[in-house]
């Protein structure tokens, strides 16, 4: 027999975003039910590259990202675990003078808007930060507070702290329907319904279906970004390296293993929780490393994988209250760069749920942007 329970807020999806929102809501004294169809961190939150990056973000995301970065730098105070977070900076490498000129414009534009986390660097400083980079690179941009963390460990830490604060986590439970019931939302599951005045849709790759089911369709594509990791090589690089012209993100861990990514996509099968790799694309990915870091040529690839993730048409997340319904909030579509945003987005979302407002600018992230486009 299934029973109906009640809560102040139901969070759907226990990725880093759902766990963080649940944790922050619990901190505010709310009774929280967190529902996850698999287990916490099973998909994008658990298997991403772990980049904690303010560098090269869309302007609309920067306030949320800044807020999040403050939390990352004191992450152990929040979740009682350092989440493997290390801050050695991230560097966007310019491969040509033309690229460097584009980067210069970007940094100047950010400075005018009052953002100073990105810093243009010349060839000399680039070589100082990345001695192994190919000599042809003329400079780049550094964001010195950036770094990387261990994704599944971080998500688990948020989950554990949320549960410790009283969050009712239900793993292996799938939401089968979301309907209005008087002033409440009825969140339907096979294990019983939950009634609550507030619901947060943090369902990742599956969030688009949920939004569509309540009349808010969004252009969400389910993608499977691929990553690979090498065996141990002599430590030669500390910051995370990213490129603009070609796809690459590159990070060496303290133990010597090197994570290679950059957003090449495999195939996603969200209904089967399954991904398939595309080795032709991973070959291009390896080729970029082969050219940029000759020292890596004889490294062995020991694992490659892909996670299931949601990408919005404009690659900017959907974050904020529903445009149609009282008490419904969206937090999804992080388009393969949501891990760093998790801690801050949860904090801001909890504020929105509790008070209806926040001082952190999120206007560029609202779901309205798609509905306006659709009705126009």
């Amino acid at each position: 027999m299934t029973t109906t329970s009640t809560a102040d807020v139901v969070v759907i999806g226990a990725g880093i975003h759902g766990c963080s929102t649940a944790l922050h809501c619990a901190q505010r004294g709310m009774k929280v039910v967190l529902i996850e169809k698999d287990h916490a961190g099973r998909h994008a939150s658990g298997v991403n590259a772990g980049g904690v990056r303010q560098l090269a973000r869309h302007v609309a995301e920067i306030p949320l990202s800044n807020h999040s970065m403050d939390i990352w730098h004191r992450i152990a105070d929040l979740v009682d675990d350092d989440c493997g977070f290390v801050s050695d900076g991230q560097v966007l490498v310019a491969e040509t003078e033309q690229e460097l000129a584009v980067f210069r414009e970007r940094v100047e534009d950010l400075n005018l808007r009052g953002f100073h986390h990105e810093e243009l660097i010349d060839a000399k400083e680039l070589r100082r930060l990345l001695p192994a980079v190919a000599e042809t690179c003329p400079g780049g941009v550094v964001s010195r507070r950036d770094g990387a963390a261990v994704p599944f460990r971080a998500t688990q830490a948020f989950k554990r702290k949320a549960v410790a604060l009283g969050v009712d986590l239900r793993e292996g439970v799938r939401v089968t329907g979301l309907t209005r019931d008087g002033a409440q939302w009825r969140v339907e599951t096979a294990e019983g319904d939950v009634l609550a005045p507030k619901v947060v849709n943090a369902a990742g790759a599956w969030a688009g279906r949920l939004a569509a089911s309540v009349g808010e369709p969004v252009p969400l594509e389910v993608i499977a970004p691929m990553l690979m990791i090498t065996g141990r090589v002599e430590p030669f690089i500390r910051p995370v390296v990213i490129l603009r012209g070609r796809k690459l993100s590159f990070k060496q861990f303290a133990n010597g293993t090197v994570l290679i990514g950059g957003g090449y996509l495999g195939r996603a099968f969200p209904d089967e929780n399954r991904t398939e790799l595309d080795w032709d694309k991973l070959s291009q990915n390896a080729r970029t490393v082969w050219e940029l870091f000759p020292v890596m040529r004889s490294a062995t690839i020991i694992r490659a994988w892909a996670g299931i993730e949601a990408r919005m048409a404009d690659e900017v997340p959907v974050f904020g209250p529903s445009a149609k319904h009282e008490g419904l909030f969206h937090q999804f579509g992080f388009s393969a760069h949501g891990f760093q945003l998790g801690p801050g987005a949860g904090s801001v979302m909890a504020e929105l749920v509790a008070t209806g407002a926040t001082n952190v600018p999120i206007d560029g992230l609202r779901i309205q942007r798609f509905q306006t486009a659709a009705s126009a």
């Binding site: 080795w279 490393v289 062995t300 694992r303 490659a304 994988w305």
Partner: protein, 486 residues
């Protein structure tokens, strides 16, 4: 058989790719090729035979009695394959098998192969994984010392190079292979000072129920002969409850516990073995569902009557499908190949069934007595999940049994996949082959649940390491070229 030494000489697509040239792979490849399928058999080793018939065409050990008559049964299996029209790629690793849309239409597989520093992707309509078994890890204190190795490794050295260990040799553990190796090494002139048997006393009683079936089994005479030979000629110590390898820089002695009794035996080499289990790395990385085999106390792929896995188009034959031994491996390879031939349209269902009938009858006989062996030689708990906190379990990342137990308790870890992210166990180059079974046992013991509930590592390709250089220089497949032109 057509030997292909350069991966660029392989075809773009095969009806069937068989991975592994042991008895299952050889028979599968030969059967399929005889039915007219285009077949590639890829294998890591320089010569066919797999582990059981390793180097059967090339071994320097020519006194037939050293390796025993069963070993030489591999010769006709290899010869049949050599007469077939299959392509054979030796010294070739298969590092990935992934599901894909074939250029020729329909669902199929992309198979990543590598030889001589050259990697290549080829297409297959059907894949038979005959990747065999591996030895169940036996993590005792001191098992990482030089001079301690597995019995299987010693047997490889004997078969492929005629190498017999110098000095005083101790064998320890349980299972038929331990006695077989003891008798093989002794015939080859090794100085075996003791065979330490860790089989639990209670197992014999538990196995008694399966005895009638075993009495009809082809194993019986062979097994008895081995056991008697080992007992007669060697110092045989039964009822061993604890083992510790000791020495500075290399093994010097092994400390043996039998209940409260304790004895120290000096040795120069310690060979450990506690049975074989299916190698699930490749099958799991392809996405085939695995189930816990209670009788064999191991994970094994879920299979249908034709050895088809949960992924349509993947079949698993030989010990990789569940331990059955060499004779059954060859027969299972044939059955799997018949279904592959049906699936690609070479024979119809009736033809498949007709051809399979006699093979199945022989197979049933070959599988007789398996349960008796499994129950009799079920490893003792103490050797599955070491109590000694300092014993290394994951050798690649140097994770100890104590760390695994503490992390399970403190962080509420449910299974091996969570454990990886906390301790990195199973994330080194061996992809968990040496620690996976032990990690499962330890978590199960700490949580007080069955291993089946704990699960196993979710494995990722490449199943065998491939270099960044090989990957970067992968020839563009037809599909990739077309994607660019579009």
């Amino acid at each position: 058989m057509n030997r292909v030494t350069d991966v660029s000489a392989l075809k773009e697509q095969y009806d069937l790719v068989v991975v592994g040239a042991g008895p299952a792979g050889l028979s599968a490849a030969a059967t399929a090729a005889e039915l007219g399928l285009s077949v590639l058999l890829a294998d890591e080793n320089p010569a066919p035979g797999g582990q059981i018939y390793r180097a059967v065409t090339t071994t320097p050990v020519q006194r037939r009695e050293v390796l025993g008559e069963d070993y030489w049964r591999g010769q006709p299996i290899v010869q049949r394959f050599e007469r077939s029209a299959a392509d054979y790629a030796a010294r070739t690793t298969v590092w990935t098998v992934g599901r894909t849309e074939l250029m020729s239409g329909g669902e199929g597989f992309e198979v990543g192969v590598s030889a001589d520093g050259q990697a290549r992707l080829i297409d297959a309509r059907h894949v038979i994984l005959a990747t065999g078994a591996l030895e169940r890890p036996m993590p005792i204190p001191g098992w990482t010392l030089p001079g301690v190795m597995t019995a299987g490794a010693a047997q490889i050295a004997l078969k492929s190079a005629g190498i017999v260990p110098d000095g005083r040799v101790v064998l320890a553990g349980c299972g038929p292979l331990l006695y077989l190796l003891a008798s093989q090494l002794q015939s080859a002139g090794a100085n075996i000072v003791a065979v330490l048997d860790t089989t639990e006393r209670g197992n014999a009683l538990a196995a008694a129920g399966a005895l009638p079936d075993f009495l009809l089994s082809p194993y019986l005479a062979k097994g008895l002969k081995l056991m008697l030979a080992a007992r007669r000629k060697l110092r045989f110590v039964g009822g061993v409850t604890g083992l510790r390898a000791e020495g500075e820089g290399r093994v010097k002695q092994v400390v043996v516990e039998r209940g409260s009794a304790r004895e120290t035996i000096a040795c120069d080499m310690l060979l450990l073995h506690q049975g074989v289990i299916p190698n699930v790395n490749m099958t799991s990385a392809v996405g085939c569902e695995q189930v816990w085999d209670e009788q064999g106390h191991c994970w094994a792929p879920k299979l249908d009557a034709w050895f088809g896995a949960s992924v349509p188009g993947i079949s698993i034959a030989g010990d990789g499908a569940g331990i059955g031994g060499a004779e059954s491996a060859a027969l299972r390879g044939e059955v799997a190949a018949l279904e592959a031939a049906r699936r690609v349209g070479r024979i119809d269902e009736a033809d498949r069934d007709r051809r399979a009938a006699s093979v199945r009858a022989t197979l049933a006989r070959a599988m007789r007595g398996r349960r008796f062996l499994d129950v009799l030689y079920r490893p003792a708990k103490a050797f599955l999940a070491p109590k000694d906190a300092a014993t290394v379990v994951c050798r690649c990342e140097e994770v100890t049994a104590g760390q695994l137990r503490e992390t399970t308790r403190k962080l509420g870890v449910q299974g091996p996949n969570q454990m990886k992210t906390f301790l990195r166990c199973g994330m080194g180059p061996c992809q968990g082959r040496l620690c996976g079974p032990t990690v499962t046992e330890i978590i199960a013991e700490e949580r007080g649940v069955a291993p089946a509930e704990v699960g196993y590592y979710r494995l990722r390709p490449p199943v065998k390491p491939v270099t960044l250089g090989e990957l970067a220089n992968l020839p563009k497949t037809e599909a990739a070229v077309k994607a660019v032109c579009r």
